[in-house]
């Protein structure tokens, strides 16, 4: 069975994916087009090659690019063209030449990440258009880290308005999919450290970091990264931006994203492979491995948000612009009611009222109504059916239905039973016309093979923004 996030399952969701390596790499085209013109550019190129070999020697099966050179306005955009091809010319350094790119994108991951973003309250969409201008940073990084497209990639934009909470949630939704699909992922932030370039052309041999102040800040950042203190750099992000960043639109956000991709850790194993100037900006190649170096600790300094509830949907002026999505998207959640015959599990979503997940009575197990919400983060695979203001959203009924079946399986396993023991199901759909077909297809792939009796009803609404719920009776 395949779930909302593309993970192939046989029963309970297996969370096996992980980030096996994180990289910070520069975006300028010089290491691709003319490394031989400057010893420092060559060292950046060599460091890129070193990082590429480390990736090749790992069991990585996905490269995730967060590029500061692809700004977006309508939320975040994720590249979903399976094979973007074009010729890239840098807006400033066009005289260095052109880069012909032909990339291999993991479209299944891209689509799943997009859905996971929406489920966590983010504005998000995929893009798949012939001729789309993949940004110079992504092209340079993939050209040097993955020149033969051995590993599929996914590329995400930087929203010009996004704050730390939104960027953190973006990483968490990405990790939802990494884990669910069992990926061994390499997370890459494409960025400069200090980004002030010389405003006039220079000869290659004249290159240096633009100012001593920029250089000192860069070295401090790299000192932290060498010690694996990624989260500390994330927490200093705004200060760093004020001190050494030219005020371009995207700020110093990639450290927020990369830190959240690593569970906001401060004890990674860091290795600075190179640090050099490129036309005055600070360019560094840094590799961070998840192995703990024994120092530092998780010291998160702000709310560790799970859902984004910021100023999305500003088109509708009647709604509040604050409040968490979890609160605005449904009723209060309860701990499941305990009792002698009650069956409860942390692997199922919390109830929306005072009742248990199930009760065992004699040889039968009666389940409370089961929806697709996920345990822990309360996200809705396939996306919610409406936003916080009640505006309808597009959603995936198949993904929701699969998630319902997964939740049923978890509860039954907690009860010592299994999905194979289901004998009767009452299903509730909020939109029979729209959803019955998709729901029915997933049913045929899952419970349909078990063979319980079934009744399907159309109802007006459910307490949370979901489209399907099932009431189940099973043998113990």
């Amino acid at each position: 069975m395949q779930s909302w996030n593309g993970h192939v399952e046989t029963g309970v969701l297996e969370l096996t994916g992980e980030v096996i390596k994180s990289l910070i790499v520069p975006a300028h085209p010089h290491p691709v087009l003319c490394p031989e013109k400057n010893e420092g550019w060559q060292r950046i190129r060599d460091a890129y090659d070193n990082a590429r070999k480390q990736i090749e020697e790992s069991d990585a099966d996905l490269i995730i690019i967060y590029s500061t050179l692809w700004p977006s306005v309508i939320g975040h955009q994720i590249q979903a063209d399976p094979n973007p091809e074009w010729v890239m010319v840098d807006a400033d350094f066009h005289d260095l030449g052109s880069i012909h790119y032909s990339l291999k994108i993991d479209t299944e991951f891209a689509e799943a990440w997009n859905k996971a973003n929406i489920a966590r309250g983010l504005e998000s969409r995929t893009v798949s258009y012939h001729g789309f201008p993949v940004d110079v940073g992504s092209v340079v990084a993939l050209e040097l880290l993955n020149p033969d497209n051995r590993i599929p990639a996914v590329i995400c934009s930087t929203n010009v308005y996004s704050n730390r909470a939104e960027t953190t949630v973006l990483a968490k939704s990405c990790m939802d999919v990494v884990k669910a699909q069992g990926k061994k992922a390499v997370a890459v932030s494409v960025m400069s450290l200090s980004n002030r370039m010389f405003t006039e052309p220079i000869e290659p041999h004249e290159d240096r970091i633009h100012s001593l102040k920029d250089d000192e800040w860069n070295r401090k950042i790299l000192e932290f990264l060498e010690e694996g203190r990624l989260e500390d750099v994330g927490q200093l992000s705004r200060t760093i931006h004020d001190q050494i960043r030219v005020k371009k639109v995207v700020a110093f956000k990639p450290m927020w994203w990369l830190s959240a991709m690593n569970d906001n850790r401060n004890d990674l194993t860091g290795n600075v492979l190179a640090y050099e100037p490129i036309h005055g900006a600070g360019a560094a190649v840094v590799v961070l491995d998840p192995e703990s170096n024994g120092t530092g600790d998780k010291e998160y300094d702000e709310d560790n948000v799970e859902f984004y509830g910021g100023d999305r949907d500003v088109l509708d002026s009647n709604q509040s612009s604050d409040g968490e999505a979890t609160q605005s998207h449904g009723p209060e959640l309860y701990d499941p009611v305990e009792g002698e015959t009650a069956v409860n599990t942390s692997k199922a979503p919390k109830p929306v009222g005072a009742y248990p997940h199930a009760r065992r009575e004699g040889d039968l197990i009666y389940l409370s109504g089961v929806g697709p919400r996920q345990p822990g983060d309360n996200s809705i695979p396939g996306g919610p059916i409406k936003d916080a203001s009640g505006n309808p959203l597009n959603y995936d009924i198949k993904a929701q239905t699969r998630a319902v079946v997964d939740n049923i399986a978890r509860i039954l396993e907690e009860a010592g039973s299994s999905i194979e023991n289901v004998i009767d199901v009452t299903s509730f759909l909020v939109d029979m016309d729209r959803d019955f077909k998709g729901y029915n297809e997933v049913w045929a792939e899952t419970l349909g093979k078990v063979g319980p009796t079934r009744t399907t009803l159309a109802i007006r609404a459910l307490p949370t923004p979901i489209a399907v719920e099932m009431k189940v009776i099973a043998k113990a």
């Binding site: 066009h94 005289d95 001729g131 789309f132 052309p201």
Partner: protein
């Protein structure tokens, strides 16, 4: 050759939505229309320019962003597809345009002689930015005039609005000198909106006009103030208030195009004509014309 001149200057905003709504054959997406107030404004501008003779369109667009000086396209024929990286669902435009490299080089050389950091772009693979294409298409959809494409030097990002203005004033003067020396009659376009705070969500369909409005009252007030100043011919005051405008309205004039335009026209005291105003995903857009040909200079 001498006695060239600027026949008109235009503030011509470039949101790709306008081309999308026009459904020209060059653009791949298809719409049901939308943003008519602005598109009718462009119609009025085209009507106003209908009988005006000019040889070249000279345009400065904030979407060719350069951080190492000001650049000029130096390739005679540019043909490719322009895809807006922000709104690729709206703008995938197959263009085939001609560059007046001679005039571009002349402006470049004039600016260089006066100490500016400039560079000719001669890479044939270079894609023309969508801002240039949208503004040129809306002003002259026939595509029968060569253009000079000038990048937006992001000196604002490196220094301040004040420095940006000083540099753009000098570039505007250089542009005017080079045009005069060339003997060519030119239409100048500053390709930018006014207030520039976007909505961060998009309607379905994007041309659903029931959701279109300015993002805030403050943005509206700023837009109206700048339009009034333009209509009253108070160009110097626009330049004076530009720092506040850019900061408070997140104005796209921070790219320098409007200041460059005003400087090239000699900071005109003659009133500009308002052909249209409207919002696009919350940003404020005005179509203005300074009919220099009528000033009897």
């Amino acid at each position: 050759m001498a006695n060239g001149g600027i026949v008109a200057g235009c503030l011509a905003p470039h949101p790709p939505h306008l081309v999308y709504a026009e459904n020209p054959e060059q653009n791949e997406p298809v719409s049901e229309g939308g943003w008519e107030q602005l598109r009718w404004g462009y119609e009025r501008l085209r009507e106003s320019l209908k009988d005006v003779e000019y040889d070249v369109i000279v345009i400065l667009s904030p979407h060719w962003q350069t951080y190492v000086g000001t650049h000029f396209i130096g390739v005679e024929k540019c043909s490719s597809k322009s895809v807006d990286p922000v709104f690729p669902n709206l703008f995938r435009f197959n263009y085939d345009l001609e560059i007046d490299v001679e005039l571009a080089q002349a402006i470049h050389d004039q600016a260089k002689s006066e100490g500016m950091s400039v560079k000719m772009m001669t890479n044939p693979d270079f894609r023309v930015d969508y801002g240039t294409i949208v503004s040129c298409h809306m002003v002259r959809p026939e595509w029968d005039k060569p253009i000079v494409s000038i990048s937006s030097n992001r000196s604002l990002s490196y220094y301040s609005v004040e420095v940006m203005q000083e540099m753009m004033i000098e570039l505007g003067k250089s542009t005017a000198k080079a045009i005069e020396a060339s003997g060519k009659k030119c239409l100048l376009i500053a390709s930018n909106s006014l207030s520039h705070r976007h909505f961060v969500t998009e309607t379905n369909p994007p041309e659903d006009m029931s959701k279109e409005h300015i993002t805030s009252h403050a943005m509206h007030l700023w837009d109206m103030r700048m339009i009034e100043l333009m209509r009253e011919g108070k160009s110097q005051q626009i330049i004076n208030e530009m720092p506040e405008f850019c900061e408070q309205a997140i104005a796209e004039t921070d790219g320098g195009a409007l200041t460059w335009l005003l400087a090239a026209m000699g900071v005109p005291e003659e009133p500009a004509i308002l052909h249209g105003y409207g919002t696009i995903i919350g940003t404020g857009n005005a179509i203005m014309e300074w009919p220099c040909r009528n000033w009897g200079a």
